[in-house]
């Protein structure tokens, strides 16, 4: 087992290096520079813009810039943002808690909806409940988050005036602070959570249906076990294996944030950091965020594989 993990980690190194090369080259080839805002400002002559480019090494050849970046990264120096001149790790750590809170809660919400609804729908396939659940699931994942987000804002903020649609870090502490934090997170968490729940419900339902027809379930029922026990102990346990993999592979997204939703609700998370950095051509930040994201994907893939073996001892590691 430990040998297997070690081998997988060793394989991860060249693939991460490969990912970093691809990312860096794509970003370096992408046109534009972080100082374009200076271009039309008559107070700043173009030489200043050019001097800044030279100072930040933007005029060096690509391979040199990559070598600089990779050696610095190996030393734990993530570089600094060209736009805010702040260290990249500081920027990311500042944004991480918000993303974990909002995207994490939405994943939790999705699970809390998807598992009960999916399981119940699978026990009564083609019943009225199943039909309704299916319909809502289809609607849910057909509507993009930018649409539902704006719809929620129009209904709950503009028309009803119940919830704020600008997410901001509230100063203070105690119960009122906590309530405010929850209040402003309701809309984004709902938008993301319902979207996730929709596809996950479909997934849980089909995983359950695959198992529920198997002979051992019939045997369990023949033994005289109650419906609840059969479903929870015998069916769910086995049906959850693919679901666990799916959730494990979703985890990097929890750290990566939700670009569109964060933009709509002005949530200061990793997603909005990434998009504003991309728009500003702030290469070090984009590099760091995407690279961390790549590491997380590799890591959680490994975790998913290990979990598989634990859930189903028939799968062996070789």
């Amino acid at each position: 087992m430990s040998q297997y993990i070690l081998r997988r980690l060793m394989i991860a190194i060249p693939s991460l290096l490969g990912i970093s090369v691809v990312l860096f080259v794509v970003l370096a080839l992408a046109p534009g520079d972080p100082f374009s805002e200076l271009a039309t400002n008559p107070n700043v002559p173009p030489e200043v813009q050019a001097a800044l480019r030279a100072k930040f090494g933007l005029d060096d050849p690509i391979y040199l810039r990559y070598l600089h970046w990779i050696t610095a990264m190996a030393h734990g120096d993530w570089g600094f943002s060209f736009v805010s001149r702040v260290d990249v790790d500081t920027l990311i750590l500042q944004r991480l808690p918000t993303t974990l809170y909002v995207v994490g809660s939405s994943q939790l919400l999705a699970l809390l909806i998807a598992i009960p609804v999916g399981v119940y729908a699978a026990t009564r396939p083609y019943s009225l409940f199943d039909q309704l659940a299916n319909t809502f699931a289809f609607i849910g994942f057909s509507l993009p988050t930018f649409f539902t987000g704006i719809l929620f804002i129009l209904v709950f903020s503009v028309k009803l005036d119940w919830l704020p649609f600008v997410y901001t870090s509230v100063p203070g502490s105690g119960i009122p602070w906590l309530l405010e934090m929850i209040r402003q997170a309701i809309m984004p968490v709902m938008v993301l959570g319902l979207f996730q729940a929709a596809s996950m419900t479909r997934f849980v339902r089909s995983a359950m249906l695959d198992v529920i027809r198997l002979d051992y379930v019939t045997t369990a029922r023949a033994k005289g076990l109650g419906q609840a026990k059969v479903i929870v102990k015998h069916v769910m346990r086995n049906a959850m294996i693919p679901v666990v993999t799916l959730i494990a592979l979703q985890m990097p997204a929890v750290f990566g944030g939700a670009i569109v939703t964060e933009q709509i609700f002005r949530i200061p998370g990793i997603g909005s950091l990434l998009i504003s950095s991309i728009l500003a051509n702030d290469t070090p930040v984009v590099m760091a965020v995407t690279f961390v994201f790549a590491c997380l994907v590799v890591l959680f893939n490994l975790i998913a594989d290990v979990l598989y073996g634990w859930l189903d001892p028939r799968i062996s590691f070789r």
Binding site: F35, N43, P268
Partner: protein, 596 residues
């Protein structure tokens, strides 16, 4: 004639026979009123009026929170690194200049005891020195006094190329010397009629020497106070998250009486302009939103029964179509649009004139800019005394067609005009931006009617405005026949605005396309006028020179002005922000208050 009248009036004001207000009114009557009116008086030897913004509160604080929404959040808080206006706005909450531009474009003393003038000895007659006196007793947020050493340090800091300051140009070409603890003198290398640049406005904000002295030059990025500003402003620093949030609290020792009004300030970033307008005008979640580049139609709809309104500030920002005088399709020594070539179609003045006749500015205003735009024939639209009265514009497909006919362009079988077997086809580029694409469509339609085939191209803004030498799609490379964008006027003086088009500034491969004269227009008369204006100390002659420059650009149709754009802001109905089209939005933040 007019010249003599004005001189007489300045003398009247000087001798007290006419009061300043009457003078300004008279200037309005003759179309001369302006932000620079006071500078005219200052150089004419009359002391600047201290004209603060209207301010009603009678005590400091008690105004609760002030919530600002900047849809592009400030990313840094050192005014000398401020790349965009968003960063300048954020820094300005904590840092202050010696003087700012007020609503009418007058200088408003902030850290200065008074505005320099010839009368108070602050200005020299040869326009080569300016003496600034600091207000006594001003303290940094950490309690240390503000002295002349801080001013000298700011000049040293910004003018050092190793610091990589964006404000370097503001502080080069001059030296700053300390006279006493509260007085500095700026010595210009050349006579500088527009002296209110260093220590004034956005790049004039002053950072404390005692916290930044160790971080001058190459180590500038490492200064811990880049993220934790200690300034003199009305609000003290509490929290900063780049691109997201700035939070400040009232400065109880602020150096202006009864100011500031608000107890805390929050500047939230992110999102987009439409939803920012919505959060202020419709739901009232925020008090003020910056730079609402939203179609007027949308704003009018939001304003119906809303909690806020749109505000418009008049400055000199101009949206224009520039004409390429060189050939973008012929390569000379590895460079297209080389000055060694001539544009095969547009070098004919009749074709340029026809194009100018085909830009339907009224339709563009009606369909796109609404209250946020004014139609104009001029490239230079302010301050008033620099605005030419000699120009005019019209929209006429018939006249344009006649001109093209005259120039030898005859309609072909497909309706597109041709000459010597060549089609009249133009490539029209701009940055990706809703209003710009709509304007492109309006212009293209009119051109089609006149038999010109226009191909539209739009480039992502971060590319279009980049200084990337290798990228052919930047506005400076200008590998197209015509292009459209906006040049903002960041101070109430046309010097920088007009100097761009001096023929020595033509963008070429040799200067890595850094020359700001992107139309590659060369006109000896224009060069001479601009050179003369640069050192002309007589304000009236100087204004005439810039008007002449503008008129030459108009005659030659170098630029076809599309719209004189106003700054658009969204404000809650109760907030009384002090805004100026000549300054950044937060430049007079100390004067903001709320009407109950």
């Amino acid at each position: 004639m007019f010249d003599n009248n004005l001189r007489g009036m300045i003398d009247d004001v000087k001798d007290g026979r006419m009061d300043r207000r009457a003078f300004v009114k008279r200037m309005i009557a003759v179309g001369l009123t302006a932000p620079m009116a006071n500078q005219i008086l200052a150089i004419g030897g009359v002391a600047m009026a201290q004209s603060p913004n209207p301010y009603k509160p009678t005590k400091r604080g008690g105004g609760g929170p002030l919530k600002l929404l900047w849809w592009q959040g400030p990313t840094l808080l050192n005014p000398h690194f401020a790349t965009g206006t968003k960063d300048q706005d954020g820094s300005r909450i904590f840092y202050e200049p010696l003087a700012s531009w007020d609503v009418d474009g007058h200088l408003n003393p902030i850290l200065a005891a008074e505005i320099p003038s010839i009368q108070n000895g602050g200005l020299s007659a040869d326009a080569k020195t300016v003496t600034w006196k600091l207000k006594p007793g001003v303290k940094w947020h950490d309690g240390k006094p503000v002295t002349a050493d801080d001013l000298v340090f700011n000049w040293e800091y910004a003018s050092d190329p190793a610091t990589a300051a964006v404000s370097i140009e503001t502080y080069s070409g001059l030296t700053v010397e300390k006279i006493d603890d509260l007085t500095v003198r700026i010595n210009f290398k050349k006579p500088t009629p527009f002296w209110a640049n260093a220590f004034v406005g956005a790049y004039g904000c002053i950072i404390p020497k005692h916290l930044f002295a160790d971080y001058k030059g190459g180590k500038s990025r490492e200064a811990p106070n880049n993220l934790k500003p200690v300034g003199t402003g009305p609000y003290k620093f509490v929290e900063f998250k780049p691109g997201d949030l700035i939070r400040g609290e009232i400065n109880p020792d602020y150096h202006m009486a009864n100011r500031p009004f608000f107890d805390t300030i929050e500047m939230k970033g992110g999102g987009d302009a439409v939803s920012a307008a919505r959060a202020v005008i419709q739901t009232g979640e925020y008090d003020f939103a910056w730079n609402i580049q939203v179609e007027d139609e949308v704003l009018l709809r939001l304003e119906k029964g809303g909690k806020g309104k749109a505000l418009f500030a008049v400055g000199g920002d101009i949206e224009f179509i520039a004409i390429n005088f060189t050939d973008p399709n012929t390569e000379v020594d590895g460079e297209r649009s080389s000055i060694k070539t001539k544009h095969p179609i547009l070098s004919d003045p009749r074709v340029r004139q026809a194009l100018a006749l085909l830009v339907d500015r009224d339709s563009v205003k009606k369909a796109i800019y609404g209250r946020a735009g004014r139609t104009t024939a001029n490239y230079l639209n302010g301050p008033e005394e620099f605005v030419s009265k000699n120009t005019k514009w019209e929209f006429s497909v018939e006249k344009a067609s006649a001109l093209l006919e005259q120039a030898g362009w005859k309609p072909g079988s497909d309706g597109i005009r041709e000459k010597d077997g060549k089609k009249l086809k133009l490539l029209y580029q701009t940055s990706i931006n809703g209003p710009r694409q709509k304007t492109q469509a309006i212009v293209k339609q009119a051109c089609q009617k006149a038999g010109i085939d226009v191909e539209l191209k739009s480039v992502v803004a971060s590319v279009f405005f980049s200084s990337d030498v290798a990228n052919p799609d930047t506005y400076a490379h200008f590998y197209a026949d015509i292009e459209m964008f906006q040049i903002p006027m960041t101070q109430p003086d046309p010097a920088l605005h007009m100097r761009r088009y001096h023929s020595r500034n033509i963008a070429t491969k040799e200067n890595k396309w850094q020359g700001p004269n992107f139309p590659r227009w060369a006109n000896k008369e224009f060069d001479a006028a601009i050179d003369a204006a640069d050192t002309e100390t007589d304000p009236i002659k100087r204004a005439d020179l810039y008007i002449k420059g503008n008129d030459l650009m108009w005659q030659d149709n170098v630029m076809i002005p599309v719209m004189h754009r106003l700054a658009v802001e969204a404000s809650s109905n109760t907030l009384r922000p002090a805004l100026s089209g000549w300054a950044n939005q937060t430049d007079n933040l100390q004067d903001w208050y709320r009407e109950s």
